[in-house]
Each structure stands twice: as structure tokens, then as C-alpha cells.
Symmetry: C2
């Protein structure tokens, strides 16, 4: 098995060929990758069957097994995802700005690939093909390190994609998979700063924390979402109930799902029962402060400090009655992971205050946090949702997988 | 003395007031800061005298003493730098993109401050005031950690700036100085990821390396420049000599100065003597490969592997004769720090090849690398020159000290 460092070196060499490839060649590679998944469907499904069997033998939960399982339809979806990426505009080569500058120099700032991207992800096998396609379209080599739960699915998928890339004349090392799924391989990838230009961890809070603590490669943190909804004094209660219900229950396992409800004390007596009635339709467990429990009764469990700090990713919602919008904003400041927050209000000034002061990637007025998504925000596709403030924030599309450089042309200028 | 973590907490609180401040208030603070330096000139010069005395007692070199020393003119220059920053356009609040999206949501991507910026710098006392002004204008709190050589100058300067900020009603903790100049304080700042949004090290290769290895705060690497000039077969020799002379000798101690000369073998016999004659005017020491020495003689020292890997920041230039442009590009790929590189050529195809394939922040055709600078590139001022590919590359101005967020307005939308 080759070392991570050797994989990095190969990825860097391959990245030079990719950076020099034009859009047509990259799209040809993507079309071949999609076709390879269709033609090699049996191999992917066979690998996946092994993973699912192992998962069952190891007592994997039903919902995790569902995320892990592939069938013909899902593999076709992976292939379609690659074709969709081919259809997106190539960000590379764009002239971001430029003109004639000091001493008549012609200066232009041009978009270029990042180079080599490392991605550490967990159990979803479709991430391998999605990420490989997005990185390739933006001109980057990628080193994928998936979880052991999906290793056979990933190995089958990546072998097909590599052959497809080679078939159009690009280096197969544009796309590599770390087959060693030990913690050690993840650590080596995080510290491979000689070759990697950026590392994108996709996964739970534990993974993100380990990467932030240990990585020497520049990191883009993604995907932890302790999202809040504040129901202001002036809120339309029916609207608030709709938004909270949608944000909490339409897909509780995703990062833009709601985790904490904050309610202004002046409207709590009316709003909380209306919201709670809706949540009961889906058996959402509420964990509330004393004021919440005084209104809704003892069937609401008492909320602990830890509850406010937790991304449940489940049918559980923390709840707190607050004095005013200032307390709501302070609570969010303290507990939020900086992903998505919402205010439900009819008050113009409070809408402005909330959007200005809440320091998260996406801040909503009167709409569900579930909309935070590359498709909705016009990026076409996304490789993750950044919760950090450097380089990219919120949904990351192809543009966020690029860097830039300055090209300066002269005719002998020297600096006085 | 307060802890770094407590400084971080205070900086975060102050950053909220700054983020809410409008441009007029920030400019008022900057004007007060500039005036405070003029009014408090004696205190700054007194602190600086102590630093210079300590430097002399500790055997500091003449050139370092020169960088450290302040006089009335230099302090006035620091004040003017702050006023120049006040005159720059405020990047905050800019709508980067936006429109009506999915389900009629009104989505806009808005430029916002990064939050809290840590800056670790070495012996130049003007960095403290420059960096404080740029961070404040972009709406960020800053924690400065300068070298012990300039600690008295920095303490006097920052005390004046903090009073000035407070005098216009902004929190003085917008600007803080770490007074403990031990290595431990630098390490604590690098790992203060609870409060810092980004860390910018400004200094030599040793500092940058320590930060990359140890930091848990996101880092923007700046300022190491092992810059190259390739004299192609078709180059105008007089132009090549001018550019190499300017790039090497106009200011050897800065990061955009030339460190390695690469010469095409077909032109070496004519070009090397012409270039060397110019360099001798400034007593530049050449360290060359065998082919260089065969042409120029034994007074050229033999270049070692380490020479090609070194940012001399001095009147020393490494030199190599190469087979062709491919070898030049490969050499740069291997040894460059990704700052600035130049080709001198009359060949259209080679100019294009070099600018496409050389992966550095600034790539020049027929102009001196000394132009890599925020002023020249139209940024107005710079806080450093990024040699990494994430977030910012090349000269960093106010825009590079900001992040963005998405603001989404609706009227009750929920996601289907």
C-alpha cells in the first residue's frame, strides 16, 4: 500500500495536468466517469453488499444502514450528479479583475485551481463520486479518505472513476482513495502539508474537532449545524409553527435542521402550545427551560446546558423562553456553530438587527433554515457547507474550490 | 497580566461593537488614532529609545537597528498611514451577489468583518499601527503580538491607539497588545481558536513554519519569498540585466526581492556576463552551478542545494543555467515559496506557458518581481502578502480582511 505522502506527491503531479486541461477535456472526463458508474454498476453494488453485510453484522442502526445502502437507482443518481457537475460553468480562467496599473503594467487577477484537495468523510458512498466530480471540474486533484463502513463501495466506485479519467488522457491520480481506514491514515492526511493545499472534513463534530486540533494543512470546517429559530414578540404564530415544524422535522439528520427554539416571553403563552401541537405530529421530544415547562407542562423534559450545546440530528428540540431579542442574539452567539439561524418577526427593526448582529453563515427572516444549500443559493452543487469565516462561508460550490493568481505583463519595467 | 484567552474574549466582545459601527465612526476612530500618535510622539520615541539601547546592548546588527529605530519623521509616517487607511473604501456591507431565488426567497451575500484577527510580527514598530488601522477599518478586533526587540515602542504606540479608539466611543479592546513576548505567548495565541477567527504571522521562515505546525486557529501564511527570474533563450539581454539588477538590489531585505536567477543555456554565454556586470555595481555575491562558473569564472561560488532553497534577503543571488523553459518551471516548482516569479522573453508561446504553469501568487513577464505590493496591485494598502492559496493570495488589502454571510428574507417559506 502506498504512503499518504506518496499519494500526495502523485496528486500534485496530476494536478498540473488538470490545471492545464481545458473545459472540454474535463467535461469529457466527467462524462466518462458517469458512464463508467453505469457500466460498472455490478461492481459498485457488489462492494456495497459487502459493506451492508458488515454493517448488519456490526449492529449498525437502521438509519445508518439506509444511508450506506446503494441500489441501481442510487448509483444512477450518482452518475447523474457527475453529469450535472459537467454542466456547470468552469470557474477556472475567469479574470476576476484587472487593468493597466503602475508604470503601465498590465495586471490581471485570474481564477486558478487550488491544487490538491483532501476530503475526509464518513459513511455515505455517494460522497466519493460527488466530491471527485466537483474537484475535477474545478481543476483539482483529490485524495478521498472515507469511513471503513463504506470502504468496499468506495473502492469499487473510485476504481471505475480512475479508469474513466485515464481513458480520456488525464492522469488517473487526479482521483485517489486512501484504502487504509485507520485513524492513523486520517492523521497523516491532515498533516500532509507538503502536498495538500486544503483539507475539507465532512462529518460529525468529533471529526471536525480532531481535524482542527491536528491538521497542519489549511482546513475548511464544514457541516456542524446547531441551528436556532427565534420567535419574536410580533411573530405570526401560524408562520412560526410552520417554519419550526419544517426546520425540525423535514429532515432531522441534516446540518441545516433546527436544534433550538427561542421564544419571546410576551408571545410564549400563545406560540409555544401552537408550535408544540405541530411538533407532536412527528413525536418531537421537547427539552425546555422552566418557563417552557410552566406553559407546556411536565411532559417537556428540562433542558440542560448540554442540550443547548448539542446538534441532535434527531426528533429532539431544545427550547428556551427569552426576555427579548437581545437575549436571543446572545444565546445564539454563545451556542451556535455559525451555520444557519432564523428570526420569525413582523417587526422591521428587529429583522434588521437580527440579520446584522447574528454572526452565522446564513441568517433568515421568516423562512426555514432548511434552505441553506448550494442548489438554493445558486451554486449548482455543493461540496459542503463551511461554518468558518476564512475562504468560504456557507454552501461551497466550484468557485470555492479555486484560488487565484496575479499575472503581470510588462516590457522591461523596473521599480523605482 | 491578563491571559491570552481573556484577551481573546474581550476582543470578540469588542468586535461586535466594531461590526455594528458605520464607516463614519470607524474613520473618526482612525483620525483620532493618527492624532494620538502625533500628540503622544514623545512617549513613542521614549519607548523606542529604550528598545534601541537594548538592541545595541544585545549586539543587534546595523540593518536591524535601522528597521527598529523611530524618529519624528517615521512616527509622522505611521500617523499618515492610518489616515491613508481611513481614506480607503470600507469593504463591509458590500452586496457581493444576490437576487430572488428558490420559492421567492430574497437572498443576498454580504461582506462582513472576519471578527478577531491575531497578528504575530517581528521587529518593525510601524507594523503595530499599520495593522491596527487596517483591521479596524475592516471592522475587526486585533490582537498584536510583536517581538521583544520593539516591545517598548509597541506598548507606547498601542496605549495611544487604544485611548484614541475609546475617545470616539468604541471599545479600546478593539486593539490589544500581548505584552508577554515569550515563545509561550505566541503559542497560546496560535491555539486560541475559541476566540480568534484568523491568525496572520508576519515574519521569517522560522516563524511561519512554527505557526503552520502548531496553530489551531486558521492561518494565512505571508511573506516568505524565494523569488525566481528565468531569462529565456529569446530574452533582450539589456532588459534581463535591468530586471535582475532591480529585483535583486533595489531592496534586498524584502520578500519580493529576487533570490534565484535561471538562464537558458543558449543565451547564458552572452547574458550571464552582462547581468553579472550590473550586479557587481552593488557587490552582489553570485552562487552558481557548474555551467555558470564555467562562463563567469571561479570568483562565483559554487551553489549548493541549500542555496536554491534559501531566501537570502541579502546581496546574494543563486544562479543556474537550465536546458529549457521546462527545466526552469520544474526548478521553480521545486524550490519556490509561491510568492513572485518572472520570465524575461520575447517569445509569445513561452510567456503564456510560464504564466499558466508557474503556480505562484504573482507571475511576471518582462517586469521586476519588486512590483508585488498592495499599492501597485490596486489594494490601497496591505497587511501582508499571502503565499497560500486559501482565502487570499498575493497582497492582502481590506477586502482580504473580511468574510461574507448570506442573508435570506422570506414571508413564511418552508422547504418541500
Amino acid at each position: 500500500m502506498i504512503t499518504i505522502s506518496e499519494m500526495g506527491r502523485r496528486a500534485k503531479i496530476a494536478s498540473r495536468a488538470l490545471a492545464a486541461a481545458d473545459t472540454a477535456l474535463k467535461n469529457k472526463a466527467l462524462a466518462a466517469m458517469a458512464q463508467a458508474l453505469i457500466d460498472g454498476m455490478d461492481k459498485v453494488l457488489e462492494g456495497n453488499r459487502k459493506d451492508v453485510e458488515n454493517g448488519k453484522a456490526n449492529g449498525m442502526s437502521v438509519s445508518l444502514l439506509d444511508r450506506l445502502s446503494l441500489d441501481e437507482k442510487r448509483v444512477r443518481g450518482m452518475a447523474q450528479g457527475i453529469l450535472d457537475t459537467a454542466a456547470l460553468k468552469d470557474p477556472c480562467g475567469e479574470i476576476i479583475s484587472g487593468g493597466v496599473g503602475t508604470d503601465g503594467l498590465f495586471i490581471r487577477k485570474v481564477r486558478v485551481p487550488l491544487g490538491v484537495i483532501g476530503i475526509i468523510f464518513e459513511a455515505r458512498p455517494n460522497v466519493a463520486s460527488d466530491a471527485a466530480a466537483l474537484c475535477l471540474k474545478a481543476g483539482n486533484s483529490v485524495i478521498l479518505r472515507g469511513g471503513k463502513e463504506a470502504i468496499n463501495s468506495n473502492m469499487a466506485t473510485i476504481a471505475l472513476l480512475r479508469s474513466a479519467v485515464a481513458s480520456v488522457g488525464l492522469p488517473e491520480d487526479c482521483i485517489q482513495l486512501v484504502e487504509d481506514t485507520s485513524r492513523e491514515s486520517a492523521n497523516q492526511l491532515m498533516c500532509c502539508s507538503e502536498w495538500l493545499d486544503v483539507l475539507i472534513p465532512r462529518g460529525g463534530a468529533g471529526l471536525i474537532k480532531a481535524v482542527v486540533q491536528n491538521a497542519t494543512v489549511p482546513v475548511i470546517e464544514t457541516g456542524t449545524g446547531n441551528c436556532h429559530c427565534f420567535v419574536d414578540e410580533s411573530a405570526d404564530i401560524a408562520m412560526a409553527a410552520d417554519i419550526v415544524f419544517n426546520a425540525k422535522t423535514s429532515r432531522p439528520s441534516v446540518c441545516n435542521a433546527l436544534e433550538t427554539l427561542l421564544v419571546h416571553k410576551s408571545i410564549a403563552q400563545q406560540a409555544l402550545p401552537a408550535i408544540y401541537d405541530r411538533l407532536k405530529e412527528k413525536n418531537v421530544q421537547l427539552r425546555g427551560c422552566e418557563a417552557t415547562r410552566a406553559i407546556l407542562g411536565d411532559e417537556v423534559l428540562p433542558a440542560t446546558e448540554e442540550d443547548y450545546d448539542t446538534e441532535f440530528l434527531d426528533y429532539i428540540l431544545a427550547c428556551k423562553v427569552v426576555e427579548n431579542i437581545d437575549e436571543a442574539i446572545s444565546h445564539i452567539e454563545r451556542y451556535s456553530t455559525g451555520h444557519s439561524e432564523c428570526i420569525v418577526t413582523a417587526d422591521y427593526a428587529n429583522a434588521g438587527l437580527f440579520t446584522r448582529l447574528v454572526d452565522s453563515a446564513a441568517v433568515y427572516v421568516n423562512a426555514s433554515t432548511r434552505y441553506t444549500d448550494g442548489g438554493v443559493f445558486g451554486l449548482g452543487a455543493e461540496i459542503g457547507i463551511s461554518t468558518q469565516k476564512l475562504h468560504a462561508r456557507g454552501p461551497m460550490g466550484l468557485t470555492e474550490l479555486t484560488s487565484m493568481k496575479f499575472i503581470v505583463e510588462g516590457n522591461g519595467q523596473t521599480r523605482g
